[in-house]
Symmetry: C2
Amino acid sequence: MKNSYNVKSKLALLVVIFFTYFGFSQSNDQEQIKKLYDAALTQGKGYDWLNYLSNQIGGRLSGSIQAQQAVNYTKSQLDSLGLDKVWLQPVMVPKWVRGTPEFAYFETTPGVTTNMAICALGGSVATPPKGIKANIIELGGIEELATLGKDKIQGKIVFFNKPMDPTQINTFNAYSNCVDQRYSGALEASKYGALGVIVRSMNLRLDDFPHTGSMGYGEQSVDDRIPAAAISTNAADLLSTSLKLNPEINFYFKQNCKQFEDVESYNVIGEIRGSSKPEEIIVVGGHLDSWDLGDGSHDDGAGCVQSMEVLNLFKKTGFKPKRTIRVVLFMNEENGLRGGTKYAEVANTNKEKHIFALESDSGGFTPRGFTFDSSDKDFDKIKSWKPLFEPYLVHYFEKGGSGADIGPLKKDGMVLAGLRPDSQRYFDYHHAENDTFEHVNKRELELGSASMASLIYLVDTYGF
Amino acid sequence: MKNSYNVKSKLALLVVIFFTYFGFSQSNDQEQIKKLYDAALTQGKGYDWLNYLSNQIGGRLSGSIQAQQAVNYTKSQLDSLGLDKVWLQPVMVPKWVRGTPEFAYFETTPGVTTNMAICALGGSVATPPKGIKANIIELGGIEELATLGKDKIQGKIVFFNKPMDPTQINTFNAYSNCVDQRYSGALEASKYGALGVIVRSMNLRLDDFPHTGSMGYGEQSVDDRIPAAAISTNAADLLSTSLKLNPEINFYFKQNCKQFEDVESYNVIGEIRGSSKPEEIIVVGGHLDSWDLGDGSHDDGAGCVQSMEVLNLFKKTGFKPKRTIRVVLFMNEENGLRGGTKYAEVANTNKEKHIFALESDSGGFTPRGFTFDSSDKDFDKIKSWKPLFEPYLVHYFEKGGSGADIGPLKKDGMVLAGLRPDSQRYFDYHHAENDTFEHVNKRELELGSASMASLIYLVDTYGF
């Protein structure tokens, strides 16, 4: 009897300890997360920061004056937050300049022309000063180059018109499935003797905005490179219809963009030093550079101010992390990834121990969840946090990619994550003239910041 | 042995039957739901219907010419879908007219005035033709009337300035918590001798749009009624700050809105007759009327075209329902609920058996899920469908309200449901001049239609 009583009482004690401990810690987490959301929605600075970045500075292409202004501005704002350390990390970045506005038209019969808005793809070479005028041939994707062969393509402008697939619920999947025509279209088409490449904009909506974005020539010699540009989805449909009526259409375009020598720029970094495990570093970031057509509000001004906000929210709610929380605003994600590469290089040189990195680079829309690049064991731990996010309608916790800038940091045992906002509107604005401040909703942006801060709070509290 | 073998083999057979049946039916469901989403995103008509309702017709206040045009247009579109029956259900509706544009200013010292945009609340009486000018007093809500008492309020204009709570994740909760000042503010303030009421717009964002909405005088005699109007959130903040500097501020406003005799209007109804259980009716609907300031794209043009789309998607995908699927475009949700009341009345008179009704009246934003007004048993069945929606990022299945128009249908054993789109942007546009077509995203609207069609497909297939 005594024995049995003892066992029972010990069991009872364990049960009490278990529930006290877990009950307590869970309610603690709920409380801290509620504080973070409340602070984001009532005292957030992110929307004002984004207003400045977008409306006072504007598009921040690597190597531009605006990119440097953005470095100065975000550093000054981080300085004002009372962090333990704020610094600039030098990095050499490519400098590509669009030049004077591009011009394009198609000609159905000699003298009968229809102008269309066009934009050079980032990294493209210029056309000859007088432009290029040639017969244009429509292709449904890069793979059709081989089917048609050199005979049909030589001496022509290739028009890649593969649309994004509207049935993809995650619009980033639709993007992945056709962005090769933008990135590699010129390189591939040049092998078949094409003179230039025109790409349908990566946009699910029918509108009049051409969308730029990076393209590459690989190791191709400069003399063999052909120019590439994008036209809007409406223009692509018009051109396609016109080609069906008259396959002899000529297309004309002119652009005088130019690649300059690399210039010095910076990653902007700030940190709150950890109280008990300062050597373990948690990174949160976005990229400070943007394309030049709009003001880069969604891509990726939003991710930058959300990342800065994480540290601001910790300060506002009085949360003192055990580990070092570092915000990194990476330079040159769009056309080089030099900032992300440099950050990882320096981290390795300094033998820094990064345990977690989170990137926000999918727009400032309502947060739906996160994707994680992690071991199964770490992912099990992460999934145990999911119920804490349900009151905030953040449901999506899946394995998947994280973000381009934090990719180079990846090491065994480290967890990378990406914020996953609602993706339906993202490609309406992506890399286009209309990626502007008024298309960011204050609350949606703030809910993203709060979700990121909550996840980082949990990683800091429970580690990996 | 034999016995045991028999039991085992019977069990095995049951297991095989179970998995065959449920495996089959689940993959059937997945397939049909995928068809519905694909059709919505590639062949949906909703966005074009909404374009017409918004841009060719515009705001559709009950009793207006536009409301009648909307009845005619939606009936003609339903006629074109090849449904089994399309008809108009007559209903008498109130006719309230805004009249000439309202005008307002506040006066800090005699002759020093600041104009502000203002709109009469729906159902309000007019001011005297020369307007009302009086000292204005700010209150944080209706409950402060009793605290201040008649002495402080008599002869003044009451300014209700309780803001929506930004920390509510579901913005409809923030709305519920302060809409009493709009609906009952005039009735209550008049009991303390107020001359008129000005309300802060129900909007979480700071902008310059006044938001209208319904208000009521209950049984109050016409002579005792005082006029009520809304000012924008920016104007409310300006007025509040000015009152802190100078409590003697006078406010002036003038409006000549008017309530006319009831007029005849219609619910617009169409149905696909069920193949094997036609007597069991499933309703899907939204409300066709809207306020007059914008074009009612989100409230509730979106819900109407989504409901019409459900039947269109069934036709497009070749799905033939067992039960009768009926779309109802209710008239007069905004200021009377006459359409919803009439529909339920006729259904009762005709002893129709409604098993399910779904309303979309929370905007055309990305669908997050549904709320259900049902028994626990039915809700258990509904929850078993949840995994089918996960590929479409529709996660939220909770007990809760449904929709105002379908409320009168409620009977024991019947299930009501409401579509729950993302709510963050809804009150940016709700009842204001900027509730316009360009603020509806095509894909978000279509995902809502597909989610509704999928839920109705499941209800039709499995019943309650």
